[in-house]
Structure formats: structure tokens, C-alpha cells
């Protein structure tokens, strides 16, 4: 049941806000936690879904948005590509299930990235399939932006994959 996960996440963030004074510390902790979860979640994901081998970063981002997000959070963010060399993408969520019960960020916590766990999860999962990426929040509804936007920047080039295909 989604409620259990969402409420547990909320209790976790509340506890972290009590333990750490600085927003950056809470954000870092959530990211690290998400990373550990992502490295394990990717196995569960690959076992449940029947995704084919991907040949491009945009295919991977599509799968994250349309299969993974749908499977675990019940939503399908839309994907946009941010640069011509197709290594930077954005996932746009107009509804964020993790923040379903959050009305606004607590006072004095304006730079808290409430859903930073998600960034860590994506980063950890990608690393387990040998893809290095930077994942951060570009826009956050809880901070007043119109939508929530997660930016994924793939760091390693795809040269090795191209080489394999040429063979």
C-alpha cells in the first residue's frame, strides 16, 4: 500500500530534520540512503520487468519514467531532452506521490529537497548497470515551482556501446 511508504518516508524526513540542523546535511543523507536503496532496487526492477537492452540514453530515461516510476510510484513523468548531444534529460512530475501529505516545507527549511531519496535511488540504480550519472532536482513544487523536475546527466560516453554494435 502506497500510504505506508509515503507516511514512513515522511516520518523519516521529520526525524532527520530533528537530527540535523543544516538542510544540506539532510539532503546528503537522503541521497546516500537513496543510493543504497537504488543499488538493490534495480535488481528487483530487472527481475519484474522484461526490458530489452537499451542502446541510448534516451531509451534508458524513457524506461525509468514509463516503467520504473509506474511500477513503484504509480505515476509516469514526462521526459524532455535538454541538450543536443542527448546526455542530459529531465523527468517532469506534475504530481509527486512522495509529497502527497506534505502541505509545505517546515519553517526555516527552505532548501530542503524533500524527495532527495528519489535522486539517490536513480543514481544508485544506474550505477549498478554501469552508467554514471548526476541526478538532482531542478525544480520542486514544494519550493514554489510549477512542477517537480528531476535532471539526469549521464557522465560516461556511449562510445563503448557503439563499438560493440559495429562488430
Amino acid at each position: 500500500n502506497k500510504d505506508l511508504f509515503v507516511l514512513t518516508y515522511g516520518a523519516l524526513v521529520a526525524q532527520l530534520c530533528k537530527d540535523y540542523e543544516k538542510d544540506e546535511d539532510v539532503n546528503k543523507y537522503l541521497d546516500k540512503m537513496g543510493y543504497s536503496i537504488g543499488t538493490r532496487l534495480v535488481e528487483d526492477f530487472l527481475a519484474r520487468s522484461c526490458v530489452r537492452r537499451c542502446h541510448s540514453y534516451s531509451e534508458i530515461t524513457d524506461i525509468i519514467a514509463q516503467v520504473a516510476f509506474k511500477m513503484y510510484l504509480g505515476i509516469t513523468p514526462s521526459v524532455t531532452c535538454n541538450n543536443p548531444s542527448r546526455t542530459e534529460f529531465s523527468l517532469i512530475l506534475d504530481k509527486n506521490p512522495l509529497a502527497e501529505f506534505v502541505e509545505e516545507l517546515p519553517a526555516g527549511r527552505s532548501s530542503l529537497c524533500y524527495c532527495n531519496l528519489l535522486c539517490g535511488i536513480i543514481r544508485g540504480a544506474l550505477e549498478m548497470v554501469h552508467l554514471a550519472a548526476d541526478v538532482t532536482f531542478l525544480q520542486d513544487r514544494l519550493k514554489g515551482d510549477r512542477v517537480t523536475e528531476i535532471g539526469i546527466t549521464f557522465l560516461k560516453k556511449l562510445d563503448e556501446k557503439k563499438y560493440r554494435r559495429k562488430k
Binding site: K2, D3, G10, Q15, I37, R40, G74, F101
Partner: protein, 158 residues
């Protein structure tokens, strides 16, 4: 739908995170268990509010415990409590023979000493649920052989 896997992984990370930032020792262990239990308490309060929004009023305490064992446990852990015992004087023992948070850990006595860490959250969950139904209680857990566990709730109003 958030899969069970996601909650399981988050719960395990929470336990290891709480223990990583604490030092060794009995006092610290108690403090970590309390932290996890308090998180479970908050979640239990919220969950019971959502689950009982449209249900009828509970007749008595036994009715409440039956709800926890059947509907609440099914929604949270996808199965019912296997055995409920009571002395009709405020002490209830819930037995789950295949507790979802322990099945992946071991099937026997291995890692028994760590089991209590993984039950603290659930004890809080029950205590929080009961608290929002008007019952003050103390909930503890016993594990003698994984993945079975016994949760003892002691009602304090009685």
C-alpha cells in the same frame, strides 16, 4: 502502486542508518530502538486514520485487536496475523509466523540478535494505531525463531 520491495528496502536502510550514526553499547541500542519505534508510532497514527475513515465504530477492545490482526495487517503486510491470544485483562499476543520484514533475513536462529532492530518500527506502528483509536499501550516483540515473531501489546487504560 508502491511495491512492497520499496518499503522493505526503505525500512532496512532506516534501521542501518539509525545504527550507523550511533556508537556501541546498551544505552545507544536502546536509543536507536526508541527512535525507530517513534517513527513507527507516527506512521501508525496516520495509517489508522486513513484505514478507519469509513468503518463502523468498534464495539470493544477485542474488536479493535481483531481489526488490527485482520484488516490492518493485511493492508500493511499483505497477510493476516496467524494467532491472537488474550487474557481478557488488557494483554494481547499477536503471532505472525512469516513476518514480512524478517522473511528475507533468515529462516531459523541465524541473526536472531539483530531481529529486535527490525521489529521496533512495527511495534511503534501498532502502538500508534491503537493510540489513535483511544488506547494507550506498550508494544514489545519477541523472536525465538525467524521469521516468526510475537508482538505483545499491553493496554494501559484497563
Amino acid at each position: 502502486m508502491a511495491d512492497e520491495a520499496l518499503f522493505l528496502l526503505l525500512h532496512n536502510e532506516m534501521v542501518s542508518g539509525v545504527y550507523k550514526s550511533a556508537e556501541q553499547g546498551e544505552v545507544e541500542n536502546g536509543r536507536c530502538i526508541t527512535k525507530l519505534e517513534n517513527m513507527g508510532f507516527r506512521v501508525g497514527q496516520g495509517l489508522i486514520e486513513r484505514f478507519t475513515k469509513d468503518t463502523a465504530r468498534f464495539k470493544d477492545e477485542l474488536d479493535i485487536m481483531k481489526f488490527i490482526c485482520k484488516d490492518f495487517w493485511t493492508t500493511v503486510f499483505k497477510k493476516q496475523i496467524d494467532n491472537l491470544r488474550t487474557n481478557h485483562q488488557g494483554i494481547y499476543v499477536l503471532q505472525d509466523n512469516k513476518f514480512r520484514l524478517l522473511t528475507q533475513m533468515s529462516a531459523g536462529k541465524q541473526y536472531l540478535e539483530h531481529a529486535s532492530k527490525y521489529l521496533a518500527f512495527t511495534c511503534g506502528l501498532i502502538r500508534g494505531g491503537l493510540s489513535n483509536l483511544g488506547i494507550k499501550s506498550i508494544v514489545t516483540a519477541e523472536v525465538s525463531s525467524m521469521p516468526a515473531c510475537k508482538l505483545n501489546s499491553h493496554f494501559l487504560n484497563v
